[in-house]
Each structure stands twice: as C-alpha cells, then as structure tokens.
C-alpha cells in the first residue's frame, strides 16, 4: 500500500515560507500531477516527499508510516530528475543497476531486472553506452529505467519532459501514462505544463505561491475551476475573463458586458448568483465557446450574439485562434478554419454560455462552485 498523506506540510527557508500548510491525500496507484507556475512550491513539495528537503512542519505519511525523518533510501520511492542526473562515468546498464548493487541484490536478479526494464523502455541496445553518447529522449528513458528496476511503490517525477523537444514530449507523455498502468505504482509528477497535467493525471493539484488552489480530475478542473487563477492556468488559449454586470431577467439572470446581454443558463445555482444582482463580476468564457454559428446541440436560450473586432487571426491548421477586441478587452476565440476574416473586420460570433464561469472580482473565487 502506498497511499500518501500530506498533513499541514510546511517548508520555510529562514523567514521565507515556500509551502504553506499543504493537505493532500494521494491514493494508492494514483497518478497525481502537481502543476503551477515556477516558484509555486510544487518541486519543493515533491522534494519533501522524496526526502531531499527537510520538512519544516506538518506530517508526511506513506501508507501509515510517518516519514518525516526517514532517509530517502528507506522510503521505497524512486525519482526521475529534471536533468536526469545519470552518473556520467557509468554505462547505462551500470546506471540502472547501481541502486540494486548498493542494496546488495544478487547479480542474476540485478541482470534480470535491468534487462526487463530496458526491454520495456526499448533501450536494450544502449546498455553499454555512457550517458553522454545518448540523446535527450534516450537519457530520459534511462532515468525512468533506473527508477523502475527497484520496483518502488512510489515514483516521483520532477519535470521529466521539460528538456525534450515538443514532438518527443508528446510521445513520452503517452509512454509514461502507459508505464503507470503497467507498473501499478503511485506516480507523483511535477510540471509547469498544463497540457501534461491534463493529458496524464488521474487528479491534478494546482498550486500557486505555496498554496494548493484546487485538487480535482482534469475535466472537473477545466469545467469547474474554483477561482480565477485555476480558470486561467488550465486551458490554452486561456479562458477569457470579462467584467460583466449581473441583472435579474424574468426567472433567471443575465450578465451584461459592454452592452452585450448574455443569458446565464437555468442550470446555474440561482441562490449563489442572486447576491450579486446589480454588481460587477468577472465572467469567464473559454475560447472554444465562441462559434461562428450556433451548433445545433446547444439550447438557443443559452446563446447570445457577441460582436467584436478582429485584431489578429492565428491559423493553427485544425482551427483558427481569433484575437478579438470587445469593449476595450482583448480576448481569444477558437473558430473553424473555414471562418474567413481580415484584421479590423467587425464580426459577430455566437457566445455559448452553457459552460460560462462567474468569479467574485475581489476574492477571485468562483461564484458558481
């Protein structure tokens, strides 16, 4: 059993606190990703779990055992470092075998485990090379292999893909996901890349300034962000945040932004919106919720025309990212590549409000969730 509990975990460097009272329950065999901008404390948290940073306060439990003062090597964890940290003077084989040799495993068992890991990672032909004779992607595999041979209960991965080129990163993402399924271990993965977080994680932990912002499944994070930071961090291009005024209209509410009246769906919790009647809130609409034509499967009651001026069109091949100006605000809409427009064109799109978000402009917290 390798569930992990962080209880009020703290890290301070002198007067500076970089991780504030973090509470987190990680289930056995879960793939959890810590994500956030640089300096948010995600790597420090991982290093505390690894035992590479001293824990300043709170408790770390692996299974049911308190790990605060247990040395790294006795925590039954393995780590993949951002720069791989392969031993430069050792061959790939030796790099992978080293941990087992230190633990005095029998030679034939070491060999079997190294060969097996090498086979899974497709690096058997590289076993006699030294790290400097490998490409970035190959080094990455060796680093994974070194972690695998020890059969740890927990894998810690610190930005393992950040040194690879975009294409290789895509491939390795899929491979690491597969590896997680195959190894049947708990994975804790740190990244600043929300795409990695969305595509690989069972659950994502969004962090900022040493605080956990939200812990949820990728889809829930995307659909129900609890605050403006999470809303802006998850999803690319970013969610558009527009100042809008809440007005009662019939049985429901509308949000009015610079003369545009946008209906709030009846599925929204009226009790939560009511206190904001007449007040300004931040309205969040994701770029893909703008359409050149309203798709047939959307309730027309939840849509409204949305006029804007084209500032820039970025063709992505499968879609176009339209940079728009509306009410003095810059925003982005994802439209189909068939949509023809020139810079300076006034266009009217359809805003789909079904998945719109509302945030309190002062607390930046979600009004809806």
């Amino acid at each position: 059993m390798a569930s992990i509990s962080l209880k009020k975990l703290n890290k301070t460097f002198g007067a500076l606190t970089v991780v504030h009272d973090i509470d987190l329950e990680i289930a056995d065999k879960e793939f959890i990703i810590l994500v956030g901008p640089s300096g948010c404390g995600k790597s420090t948290t991982l290093r505390m779990i690894a035992g590479l940073e001293e824990i300043s306060g709170g408790e770390l439990l692996i299974g049911t055992d308190l790990m605060n003062d247990v040395p790294s090597k006795d925590r039954d964890i393995a780590m993949v470092f951002q720069n791989y940290a392969l031993y430069p003077h050792m061959t790939v084989y030796k790099n992978m075998a080293f941990g087992l040799e230190l633990r005095r495993a029998p030679r034939d068992i070491i060999d079997a485990k190294v060969q097996e890991a090498a086979k899974i990672l497709d690096i058997t032909h590289l076993l006699n090379r030294k790290p400097k004779a490998l490409s970035g992607g190959q080094r990455q595999r060796v680093a994974l292999g070194r972690a695998m041979v020890r059969n740890p209960e927990v894998f810690l991965l610190d930005e393992p893909l950040s040194n690879l080129d975009a294409k290789l990163r895509g491939t390795m993402r899929a491979e690491i996901t597969k590896l997680h399924k195959r190894l049947d271990a708990t994975f804790i993965y740190v990244t600043h890349d929300q795409v990695e977080a969305m595509t690989m994680a069972d659950r994502i932990v969004v962090m900022k300034d040493g605080h956990i912002q939200q812990v949820d499944t990728p889809q829930n994070l995307y659909d129900r962000p609890v605050n403006m930071f999470v809303a802006g961090f998850i999803g690319a291009p970013q969610m558009n945040l527009l100042p809008a005024t809440i007005r009662r209209s019939g049985h429901g509410f509308t949000a009015q932004f610079d003369g545009r009246v946008l209906p709030l769906p009846h599925t929204f919790d009226v009790a939560r919106i009511a206190p904001y009647d007449g007040r300004e809130v931040m309205l969040g609409i994701r770029p893909e919720n703008f359409h050149e034509l309203a798709p047939g499967d959307i309730d027309p009651q939840n849509t409204a025309p949305f006029a804007a001026v084209v500032e820039l069109a970025e063709p992505m091949g499968s879609e176009i990212h339209l940079n728009l100006l509306a009410g003095g605000r810059q925003m982005v809409a994802r439209v189909s590549p068939r949509f023809k427009s020139k810079i300076g064109d006034a266009v009217t799109l359809t805003a789909d409000m079904t998945n719109a978000q509302l945030f309190d402009p002062e607390t930046e917290r979600s009004i809806l969730y």
Partner: protein, 344 residues
C-alpha cells in the same frame, strides 16, 4: 552537347501491391548528367578568382593571428627557449663559466654513472615524488571536502589553508625549523609529553633518517592549500542532483564519495597529479631552506645537485647534463600520465 551517363533506376512503391505496380508499369527514371557549365573556360576563370581571394584572406588571417602571438613568443624565445637549447648543447661541453667552452662528447653522460651524489639525488627525488604526490593530493582533497561543507568559519579556514602557499618561503621555513627543532621545538615537546623517550625523539632536519620526512611534510603543508582550491572548484562543479540520485539509490556517505565525487573529480585529479609530479621532480627551494641537501646526501635532490654542480663547482656542462636527465624524466612521466588519462 555531350550527354552524361544514363542511370536506370527501378522505383518500387512500398505500399503498392504487385498488381498495382504491373498496372502502372515500371517507372524508369533517367537521370542525365548535364555538364557543369556550357562554357568551361568562363567557369574556370570565375573559380580561379575566388581561389585567389580565399588565399589572400587566409594569409591576412594568419598575419593577424601571428601578430597577436608574437610579443609572447618573443619573450618565450629569448628567456625560455634559448636557454633551454643552450643548456641542451652545454650538456655535451665542458665549461666553467669563464674559460672557453670545449666540446666534451659524451663525457658528461658517462660521468653520471660514476657520480655517487647523482645516484643519491635521483633516488631521493623519486622517493620524494612517490611519497609527496599522493600524500599532497589526499590532503588537498580531504581539506577541500571538509571546507566544502557548510561549517562555521569556513572562509577563515580556507584562507588559513591557502596561506602557506602564498607566504614567503624564507619566513615559513624559519618558523618550520623552529617548530621542528629537535631540542626545543613544540612538535618534539608534544611527542615527549605523549610518552616518547627523549632518545627516541626524531631529530627531524638534523637526522639523516628523518630529514627527508621533514622536507616532505613541509612540502605537503606548503602546497596542499593551492591544490585544495583547485579541488574546491572541482567539487563545486559537481551536479548536486547526482548526490540526490545516489542518496535515493541507497548510497551512504562513503559510497557517494566513491561513486560520485571521485569519478566526477577525475579530470581535476589528473591535472593535480601532473602538476604535483612536475613540481616534485623540480623540488629545490624547500630543501635549500631546511636541510641544504643534508645531512650527508639524505635530502640531496636532482635540482639541488644541479645547483651544486653549476654554482658551487662551476661545472656548467655536467650540471646541464643532469638537467637533461631531469627533463626527460619529467617528460616521460607526463607522457605516461597523459596516455593513461586517454585510455580512461
């Protein structure tokens, strides 16, 4: 116009079935080699013009480069290369520094084998090198590791350890002679209080059995600070993630040292070894200050012997021959070290 050679290439399309290919027929691709230019004379002239300008550019670049090297090289030629060549020639001459130089053939060379002092000096130099190189290296590395930790007063200790290297040799040697004074020096006082009988106390520089030990200890103490600084630089160049990875792999402090620090420091160790070896073969000043080669010939080293022959006996030819031996000794050892480094 001349037709170039014709090449027939059969192209198979990997995703096509046999039937497909039959249906489409074979694709025959003919590649005609056209001549490079319709007018070879004109093309040749153009080419020639470019060659000239390239050569001129190369000459200009070389001149600029040499002009930068020249001042340094002139100094080297006058003060180093010239004397070396002169010394090489002198090894086969007789010269007392004032009378005319006479050709000696191999006289000086044969004399080496009859010169008891030379044999002693050669032996002492080898002993000095074999002991002091690894000892200095170990001390320097040990100090560097200690002073690479976050300990209180680290900067003070670093300075203190480096100080002997920059301090005046004369002053340092005077202090050293006092500390190791056989009668009233603090070292022997301490040994005495530790229970060593007065008749067994080492005579240090005055004792033919201890004189070499004294010189070696002095050498280690004087130069370890310098190599400590080099090792410190080497240590700080080691990626700290390697230690973290080794820690997670289960390595203890010794295993981290053995499997991370030492291999990572290999280039530094190589440099330090080569420098120390050369320095040890050329040892002179500390012998001069502490024992003057004595008692007897117990600390006579090659350079000291060269000095004696040259400026005490004024036999410059013979002293040059000993220098030549020293030169080839240092060269041989260095070449061997470089070879071994390459093999690794």
């Amino acid at each position: 116009m001349l037709m170039g050679p014709q090449v027939l290439i059969e192209v198979r399309l990997p995703n096509c079935s046999q039937a497909d290919i039959r249906q489409r027929g074979r694709m025959l691709v003919t590649i005609a080699h056209a001549t490079m230019s319709d007018n070879p004379v004109q093309a040749g002239r153009k080419k020639k013009l470019r060659v000239v300008s390239k050569r001129r550019r190369r000459v200009e670049n070389a001149l600029i480069a040499y002009s930068f090297i020249a001042p340094n090289f002139l100094g080297f030629a006058v003060f180093t290369l010239g004397p070396i060549l002169f010394a090489f020639a002198l090894a086969f001459m007789h010269w007392d520094g004032s009378n005319p130089i006479t050709f000696a053939g191999l006289d000086n060379f044969w004399r080496l084998f009859e010169d008891k002092a030379f044999i002693d000096a050669l032996w002492n130099t080898i002993v000095f090198t074999v002991v002091s190189v690894p000892a200095t290296l170990a001390c320097a590395l040990g100090l560097a590791i200690l002073l690479n930790q976050k300990i209180f007063g680290r900067d003070f200790f670093r300075t203190a350890m480096f100080f002997p290297y920059v301090a005046s040799l004369v002053a340092v040697a005077v202090v050293w002679n006092m500390i190791f004074n056989p009668e009233m020096g603090p070292v022997n006082m301490i040994l005495y209080t530790l229970g060593i009988a007065p008749e067994n106390l080492p005579g240090w520089a005055a004792d033919r059995h201890w004189a070499m030990v004294t010189v070696i200890l002095f050498g280690i103490w004087k130069s370890m600070g310098y190599y400590m600084v080099i090792y410190l630089a080497g240590l700080q160049g080691i990626n700290s993630e390697l230690y973290e990875a080794a820690g997670l792999d289960g390595a203890n402090a010794w295993q981290k040292f053995r499997h991370v620090t030492l291999p990572q420091l290999a280039p530094t160790t190589f440099f330090v070894t080569v420098m120390l070896t050369i320095q040890s073969f050329k040892v002179f000043d500390q012998v001069y200050m502490i024992t003057q080669g004595g008692p007897g010939t117990s600390t006579l080293v090659l350079v000291y012997h060269i000095y004696n022959e040259a400026f005490i006996s004024w036999d410059l030819g013979y002293s040059s021959m000993i220098s030549l031996v020293l030169f080839f000794l240092v060269l041989a050892v260095t070449v061997i070290q470089f070879r071994r480094q390459k093999e690794d």
